[in-house]
Amino acid sequence: MRARAMWLEIKDELLGILREPTALFFSVLMPVGFFTFFAAMFGDTWNDAGTAMIVPFGTFGVLAVVLMNPGIGMADARQRGWLRVKRVSGIPLWMTLIAKVTASIPYALAVLGAITASAVLVGGMQFHLGEVAAVFAVLVLGVLPFAFFSLAIGSRVGTNAAAAILNAILMPAAIASGLWFPFEMLPDMVARIGRALPTYHLAQLAMRPLDGGAWMGHLLVLAATAAVGAALALMAYRSARL
């Protein structure tokens, strides 16, 4: 019974994403558009980097999906009173939260696929399928802790405010973490802050299949992010005005 209910919760969330095309614009087109734009401008200089350039833009892409989507969906459901219906229905709290997070996985994969496809179309980049698959796996799993923060915000504020707050977190975090520009191009202070952000550690962990660098520290930061995010999401949801 629980498996069926869980599947239907996830399916409802996925339908919510697929049937709301405006969400697709910001979550898919924006990161893909940025990637294509930068690839068109600097593609020649990226040739040596190859797959590595997928990492920062892919990180931004999955962050855009996982940070924005669950929180805005949560705020909308709460504002409508639909969350109240779900809570009264007897569905466990964790099922509602997990469904929202899980539904963002295929969406994040679609964004990564679109970025890869645009990279192929723009041309001039070298890919290794195994490496790309490994980067995708790290990004899709590593980004999930951010969904908890999204849900926490969506449990406390209205739909418009949630979109504004989450954007206000996403954009500066992406820039400070070096996802759009290398650290060398950023002011020292911003770079120092950026290196402390979990978004930076996600990007670094995603680089691991390509450069074989250290990973444990990044993983620990993401694990701590997940623990703090989950606690905040649970507290926010439990005290949310439904």
């Binding site: 239907l8 919510g16 009173g81 219906v85 009264v88 466990p92």
Partner: protein, 299 residues
Amino acid sequence: MTTVLTVRDVRHAYGDNIALDGVTLSVEAGELVALLGPNGAGKTTLVRSIIGLLQPSAGSVRVVDGSPSQAVVRRRLGVVQQDVGFPTTLTVREVVVGAAARAGVDRSRAKAAMEEMGLSGLAKRRASDLSGGQQQRLQLAMGLVADPVLLVLDEPTAGLDAASRKAFWATLDARRRQGTGVLLTTHIVEEAAALADRVVVLHQGRVVAEGTPAELRRTLPGRRVTARTSVPAEVLRAVDGVVSVAARDEEVDITATEAEPVVRTMLELDPAVSDLVVATASLDEVLIALTETKEELVA
């Protein structure tokens, strides 16, 4: 008879504002209890306590033998809430099938519930596109899908036209005959009086009256006297049994437990009294008089 809802000495406050002040009530299997009261009486807070959305500060709420704070107990409830908007992305069928899955019952129950509420023809429509009345029926279909032991309906017929309301009540009546307990809040007092086995009047967080509609009419200020008279309102208010007096120019509208002392006083002080009408107060008038009286007492 099985008691499907027991509310015992429930208290709750929002800061300094006391919403519920020791409410006790029960609903038996197959019984329809109407919860009446003016705005701010505490009805919605009580309903939220019963459906597990709110943990009251004190007292207990039991649905059969479990607390509604437990998910497994809430699955035994069918609920129609106020101000619920459906997701723009789900169809009627998806909403009811989802309710069946959450309640842990077979998918076929969703189809039966949609048929029962006359929604089969709308199964493929987006739920958010339905009219207000259709959305209320959809909520009830979700509530009925798991054959609940108790239906909790918060203003369920608000926004329904007369025909839809009649159909809605017919469904409830059928369920009640099958043994489902029903607790409903409504502003349509006469409708509640016609359908309810018992009426509970809530005012300022307290139960101020309880009984069958007939008992309430009998025991509460049940006579209404209207007339044109020069007798001042304050004199009429002092007459034994008078509960409320509304006066405008020389027209007075009096609610009282008995009409005779009022009429006698008016005739003694004003032989020219005219347009004198004595009527049995409706339950609506009883409710208004009762809550106004309590306000005066509190003040």
